[in-house]
Point group: C2
Chain length 323, copies 2
């Protein structure tokens, strides 16, 4: 999609211009390290897209777009420490290169630096955007904690799971779009509708992610088939299965999900239950549901259908993993 | 000092009213835990004092005062993880009770929650205060990193040390006063003068802290005599000694400061060099210098001398460790 590339180039240039050159080097080198690995930078792209949707001044949106991207990277640095992760975007994680202490402190300074990117906005808009940004950051932390809690809980419900992934993934996409919309001059109502669009795209994306772990082409995705099952992750598939399985199947799921094993029988058994309770179909229906909800919110927005097309394209391709 | 207690009571009440009752509990319990241990809460007290100095509306200053206090506690949680500290204010540190991962995430959410405490200010004031707050947070992180760097560097200069303690201690005191002043309706010029007052009080306090480690009444302070020397800490005393010692003494200091030992000879030898190069006198002169600078900035402020008295009292008692 050409329009995405156009926005990505704008973000890339801004990232380049905003490299941290101040000292102490030990603090900012790790920050420049993770930012430079980039990734697809779809969140800041969404800030720009939303600003454009309302014919706003893109130049005003670029630094706030960086705030969203830098915030995201702050969460990655700290999450990787907590998860003991060694690789991120194919590169060694910040803490595995620089140590956990530097990771903590570099993450902290990156979060605060991201607040600075709103400072060129006039006071009303600054206050509005910073408040959304702060609220979103809090929800992301809460989502992360719920995710941690779910690992050791055996009674997580499907609704709790949706709440958790909304917070971990959805709200930041929503906030990126809402902030971009407000900077672009949208009404509060339109900005909120775009937020909800982003939230549901995020949720649909996350359920799709769970789906693809079992039913996707893992070669194309570069992941291990059924990795979530091996890892005992309480994904949407697992929760749907627990909800619809009979007593005996539930016991079997409990059995396998309390074991840490590379035994392929585990995957066969679990997938067998998934098949029996039609998890594949149910998961796809839920992706569809959140996708439709997203579209309905997009429909509500008071701009021409033509201008909304990029958002439909982006959502569609996200779900098809074409990024 | 009665006026301090009055402000402390206001802060205490506000802390009580703003306990975090939302979930997930695993995230907010550690936050309530550290906040409830209190300490003297002089930073938020300073926000209120500064607001009062300009006859401002104290009710407007209370939540921003909490922002300063909560930010400070965020830094304590993360610093204690980095320092592997087990005790803080006589209580087990957050990470030693709840684990490092919870400490990281609770610290993060506390930082973002602290931004929320500015949201009742009108947009211009919100933007001004949040910008100062962000800039201060960045400087505090930088100061922390410099402090870490200094541990392994052998060429730290006295000026670098002053810069480091300004960032680690001074700027947050300065920012507390400046934010309180602006909320109280002060001019930018007066707010900046009060910031400088706080900065220099902070620096004087920190040098005094180094001084008391060797020359203070350790029983009264509840610390180990010469603990900084045993720990090889590059304090103001050490840096003054290195600057003024002769070649041979410098070698001896290098020798002792590269050793980790409980040998009392280390303290005798180091204190002997301190005596020879008149470190005690020089350190006190520097405390005096920053104290005088602070007073000079206070003098500049366009309010009656009478109203400034509490600030002189506070600074005086801080330096005499009467808190």
């Amino acid at each position: 999609m050409e329009f995405i590339e156009h926005y990505q180039n704008l973000i890339s240039a801004a990232v380049g211009e905003n490299r941290f050159t101040e000292g102490p080097e030990e603090l900012y080198e790790p920050v420049n390290y993770i930012i430079s690995h980039g990734g697809k930078r779809l969140r800041p792209v969404m800030v720009l897209m939303a600003c454009d949707l309302f014919d706003g001044d893109l130049r005003q949106a670029i630094r706030p777009a960086l705030a969203i991207e830098y915030f995201h990277n702050f969460t990655l640095i700290h999450d990787d420490i907590m998860d003991n992760a060694t690789l991120r975007r194919g590169q060694p994680t910040v803490h595995s290169v620089y140590g956990a202490n530097t990771g903590i402190l570099s993450g902290d300074v990156l979060l605060m630096k991201s607040y600075k990117f709103f400072e060129e906005l006039q006071p009303e808009l600054f206050k509005r955007c910073v408040s959304i940004f702060t609220e979103t950051g809090i929800l992301v932390c809460e989502g992360q904690q719920h995710d941690v809690n779910f690992e050791t809980r055996n009674d997580v419900t499907y609704d709790e799971y949706i709440m958790m992934i909304s917070h971990k993934t959805g709200v930041l996409i929503g906030a990126a779009l809402k902030i971009g919309a407000l900077i672009g001059g949208s009404s509060e109502k339109d900005a909120e509708a775009l937020y909800q669009f982003g939230l549901h795209v995020g949720v649909a994306f996350q359920i799709m992610d769970d789906y693809l772990d079992v039913y996707g082409d893992m070669k194309a995705l570069g992941k291990k088939q059924a990795g979530d099952i091996y890892e005992n992750k309480k994904t949407a598939l697992y929760l749907l299965a627990m909800e619809h399985a009979d007593e005996e199947e539930r016991k079997e799921l409990d059995y396998w999900y309390s074991k840490k094993t590379d035994n392929i029988d585990k995957v066969y058994s679990v997938e067998n239950i998934f098949r029996h309770v039609k998890v594949e179909e149910k998961a796809l229906r839920l992706v569809q549901k959140h996708s439709e909800l997203a579209h309905r919110y997009l429909d509500e927005i008071n701009v021409s259908a033509d201008k909304k097309k990029p958002f439909l394209q982006l959502a569609g391709q996200l779900l098809q993993r074409q990024f």
